[in-house]
Symmetry: D2
Subunit: 435 residues, 4 copies
């Protein structure tokens, strides 16, 4: 990812775009084919020495104070022939810059999509592995009803499938080049030149542009990165919770060397998850700056440029790094089903109350009558716990309550108040999700 | 738009969702058809008196401290029959809340799309009207090359066509309901119930959910609104510039009563454009809050709820209002072609320099030689102006310079240095854009 | 707080400012004292019927399309005398609007400071109450070293003392009025008028202004609200953690009616803390919009106004509401020292490892040797736990290790490995903090 | 500024803090003085070879996976004596990291304040230079009343004086160190050690802390940078407007080489102002991330760290760079009083309407009568212009209207309708501002 956003790669793309434009001008009959060959030779020489080109451009920029003119001058020097007059012919700096920028965004999106193609099967594998590993579902941080750890991960898989769709779409949205001149009228070059260059680069020509491609596209790219970052954060927060000393249902993988090396062996900190949490904030901040870049003045002002030089390399590199970390963490995530069971026990089976309530209603009780029965046994269970009976159990209380028990056939209550009852849709859900 | 986000409409949707769920349960053989009729009657009574339902719910909420239980209680009172035990059967509050919320977002997107269907033809009409109205194109606020006011508006049209695509997509993204219980396992209701309710409401069931629909969807909705807001801001800034006293190429429409009523008749302020500029900032701030809502804890925490109660009605209502204002402003925009011409003159035709440079290169001059010729005449023109000759003209200088003139056939230079030269792609561009 | 931001109160302030300006003009000898009396009578009539004034202003605004002119017209009608010619004499609309706005901000800051004066003693009381209630300190959500719940609350107290300082400062920063005309030159009114009006309102005159007071002041106000919101969020997150089923060291207070009413008595959700968490996001989004308001064009554009009409009432009302909730939550917070003790036990005293390490170093061991001794006993303790001995204890292991034990006098190790050792600075810290 | 945020400087500060802590421990009688000398020697050796220390730390970090332990190990190697056991004695990593971080923030604030001490006199000089250079004041981009260019710059001066106050305050706010251990209890080190180290570094000890200094301080630092950035943006936007082709009242300074080198001599783009505009957006985005950093979990999580590593060096370096650019731009700003005069003329003196209105009221006319007189002459002037009389003049119209003229003594109207009338407070204002 870093390679995409280097000065070397930018100049490499500029060389490519300039050459493609001249190829198109040869087809148009404007530039003689022989001149193209001379230009190609010069470009090839620089392409083989990109650091040299960067150095020469920087040197020239000091006096010229213009990055594209410094570049074209450096290339002209290398061509060293009157043929160089066709180099950059009819182009505006932004034709080259913005078209190259689009290629950089597309390549970045490709890498991020490749990251997701690595990540998704890892999540899918872990989800299948824990398809029926019971754990408590929590709302507000408080125990609610049982679920499986596999369902949690299936949900995560679904979220990153959405991330994939978002990145695919934003890749399509930003794959837009332009070679239409200083204010977008396209007066100096036939539209066929623009079409040819864009096609060769895998871009669409902007249907219409100013000096630059409109910045709502770039803002959409950045808000997409921020959205993917927010999804990563959502799961980083999940796993930080699960690693808490009191919960300890999962841990981020520890390197062999780290393990046992400490005087505090309980202190395995979810620092990588925390890092992911933090970096999502940076992506959000950058998205915001991109949204402010949209309202350029008239046919362009250059206020967006200083912002983009910072936020595009940063956000792309960060998200690539984050997705890589996430894949590694999910791959090696230590999962503790025993602790999940232990935690499930903490609520004494009270998470069956809704099941029993519905069963009683179905048997004809009014909601109020059913509720009263469920509630009194729930309270009894809870009080038993507070009286020190940590093994108090809601199901036992229900069985012991004749007014409840008489509604159920033998074994019926046990079937209802089982984890299997809660997991009966798991297979169907996994199937639907293609997991 | 306000009507979508009222308490009345929310409870109306809740009634509808609850009834649909019971209809599905009748099909499932869980609920007797006769009970459905009784429930329908109760719901219909409240549906005919939504303010009454809101009032009763609020009253009950004071003691119950739970909005959905207050609602179900109010409905049960109205049903006033044991059949009411099936009301809300197997549902979790969020099943109702989040599914209704999805309907509200979809309806809001529909309204915003309707706004755009009003706006786009207005922009298109104004673009066609000024297809060949010449004006200067500006980069950095400085004159660059000529364009037409129609091209400007064609660009605007293209931007709001993208806004349309974004809203269509986000509408599809958020059209997701869920009736899968407290932690999303779907243990208490057959998935067919969820499928039935969603289908009837024009939603898809979430492939998987927790207690709630995942908040990356809602964040995407809000970033889309912020993106559309940023596009509005971009054009508001454009027209504020064009209305400046020194530029005055366009003015926002003034009501008849306003005109002439002032002691400062030159003081027609672009206050509506300014209002649009400001409101885009509010949309951005709200999008940010939505992005922070994504990382809920485990199977849900409710921190998103207080945020959403503020930002969804606000942002939807604001954007609807903004698009309405924008349509009105574009419809009545006062355009001053004479001032555009006058402003064009300010640069003395120096915007032909690139045209002449390219022509000389094409005629075989080196870039350096061509540049020298263009430059010396440009400088001469500029100095003439500074010497007080406001009618100095670049073309005249070129014609008067034999070293330039000898390269051109009679009339050739005039043809090149004409607005027509700059506008030769306008027809093709409009065609391509379907304008 | 809502009352500060109503239309009624705004117009009340406008009346007051206009009257004060005329009083000053009487002193300047511009306005006859008799006319002042007539104006006062008109103003008093409206002041006694502010809803009537709002209604009349709105009616007039429909045709006049200007809020201040509608207001001055309404007042002139009421004065109904040639004396009304002095009403609004020499003023620009923004002189009145921005000066009134400053008063509203100052009053809001006063209310928020009053909220903090309620909050701080409540936190202080709870801190003192739990000064020596032991609980585990956690970094990364993982047990670190013991602390006391009182220290936690002392830290919280210190944070809201900083909030207080911030609000006091921002109150001073925004207490700025201006009556210096359309572009701030002050040509139409003597500066003594501005000085008089501001003094009477408890404001400073802006040293210099444009048509409006510069918006960096208002942005500072909003970033301060966002900072206070972030501090509230920080503590809301803390208490949400402490209320988790597995942790349960504290709970937000439950209303009497709520208690026991549920079929899931374990399900006491920290929904108020969650609400506070969410609302902090809204404050951040609004602060952002305020920061974008700073860059107004020239001597003012009105883009800030639509933003401010939304974010100032909203953020002030929200923060006031949040501080009120926070005080209530802290006042009634249920604290469970027994659970704190139980959680402390989970780490088997391993949090003494640093203490023992330092003691051994002090006794002359190299860091490496000391570390080896500590580590082997830590590992032994940890392994014992994993072998099922939940009562494994680090201190016992140390005592049983002769190579450790020989370095310590009898009782010495026990003194070190005690909670008292960790709490020895508590008294001093509380004293320093004035608690 | 970059030097403050290098790895070298961070490790230099760590060395310093560790040594100071040992000095204090010598005073406490814990560490023998001889050991201090050995430690000093080791530290001095690394201090003389900071790049070497960075390299060694990085190498060790690869296996140790902890930056501070890698650092202490590297130093212990260099001390190479049992005395090294006192190195880092009783400290937690964050004691060193956060205290060093505070020093970095304080030094950065110092540099930014130094930047402002460069900037303010430059603005003051230019303000004095143009104290009475007339230009039009604009609201909504539309001509309002005259002002002077000096007053504009005096306003700018006042804004950056506020920036100075903000930075001074934030410098004081963040000048906070902590050496109070893993959860802030201060159990392992006497508070005198913390006090000594902080005093030597020019910091206050945090009255209370967790493992880290609370992050509302760092968020306040970042919101301050964003506020200063917003002020820079406000003025960048001003000068971009003034450089527009149609306005051209000021231009950013051009390097000698750039001048006249172009084929489009009118094309002097305000690219530096545009860069400043853009960079303010980046500062805002970073401030947002800092605000999200406040809500750390319990006694700390490390999510803030990855964010801070990016945003603190970036924002400090950017703002330093921006203030430097701003000083250069203000120093060399090209100002065109002739164009200001020309632009003033565009409004035909209609900006006297308020003056005349007030004068007529003062002479006893009702507001309505006065307004009618002013308005009819304003309209006449405006219509004359539209009829092609660009030299139409409001004052002349007034003089030619006997119903107006009869109210004024000879010369009275001329005195009122003069620029001097508008500028009569300029001297007082400058004096008040100390300019």
């Amino acid at each position: 990812m870093r390679a995409i956003w280097t000065d070397e790669n930018r100049l490499r793309l500029w060389l490519q775009i300039e050459q493609l434009a001249i190829e198109a001008l040869v087809k148009e009959g404007v530039v003689p084919a022989a001149d193209l060959e001379k230009i190609r030779a010069g470009c090839a020489a620089w392409a083989a020495d990109l650091p040299g080109l960067v150095a020469r451009q920087r040197e020239l920029e000091k006096t010229l104070n213009h990055d594209v003119i410094a570049f074209t001058t450096a290339v002209a020097e290398k061509i060293n022939d009157p043929a160089s007059r066709w180099f950059h012919y009819g182009l505006t700096s932004s034709d080259v810059i913005d078209t190259a920028f689009a290629v950089q965004m597309v390549r970045s999106a490709d890498l991020l999509l490749a990251d997701l193609r690595q990540l998704l099967p890892v999540i899918a594998r872990r989800a299948r592995e824990h398809k029926f590993t019971p754990c408590i579902g929590r709302s507000h941080g408080i125990h609610a009803e049982p679920t499986t750890f596999g369902l949690k991960l299936a949900l995560m898989h679904d979220e990153f499938r959405r991330a994939q769709e978002r990145l695919e779409r934003t890749r399509a949205v930003v794959a837009v080049g332009k070679l239409s001149g200083a204010v977008g009228t396209g007066a100096h070059l036939p539209p066929r030149v623009e079409a040819y260059v864009c096609r060769k680069l895998g871009l669409r020509p902007a249907p219409i542009a100013t000096q630059v491609v409109q910045r709502d596209l770039h803002a959409e790219f950045q808000t997409t990165l921020a959205l993917v970052g927010a999804s990563i954060e959502r799961w980083a927060v999940e796993f930080r919770h699960l690693q808490r000393t009191e919960v300890l249902e999962a841990e981020e993988p520890f390197a062999r060397g780290q393990k046992g090396s400490s005087a505090m062996p309980h202190k395995r900190n979810p620092i990588t998850w925390e890092r992911l949490t933090g970096l999502a904030r940076v992506l959000r901040g950058n998205a915001l700056a991109a949204l402010e870049n949209v309202a350029l003045w008239h046919e362009r002002d250059i206020s967006h440029s200083s912002v983009e030089r910072i936020i595009f390399p940063d956000s792309c590199t960060l998200l690539d790094y984050m997705l890589g970390l996430l894949t590694r963490l999910m791959d090696g995530l230590a999962v503790y089903p025993e602790n999940m069971k232990k935690n499930l026990r903490l609520s004494l089976g009270l998470w069956h109350s809704q099941t029993v309530l519905l069963a009683l209603i179905k048997k004809g009780l009014t909601r109020e009558a059913a509720y009263a029965l469920v509630q009194r046994n729930a309270m009894k269970t809870w009080e038993a716990k507070h009286a020190g009976r940590d093994d108090a159990d809601f199901l036992e209380m229900l069985r012991a309550d004749p007014e409840v028990a008489r509604h159920f056939a033998p074994g019926e209550l046990e079937r209802l108040c089982s984890l299997d009852f809660h997991f009966r849709q798991v297979n169907a859900r996994f199937k639907k999700l293609g997991l």
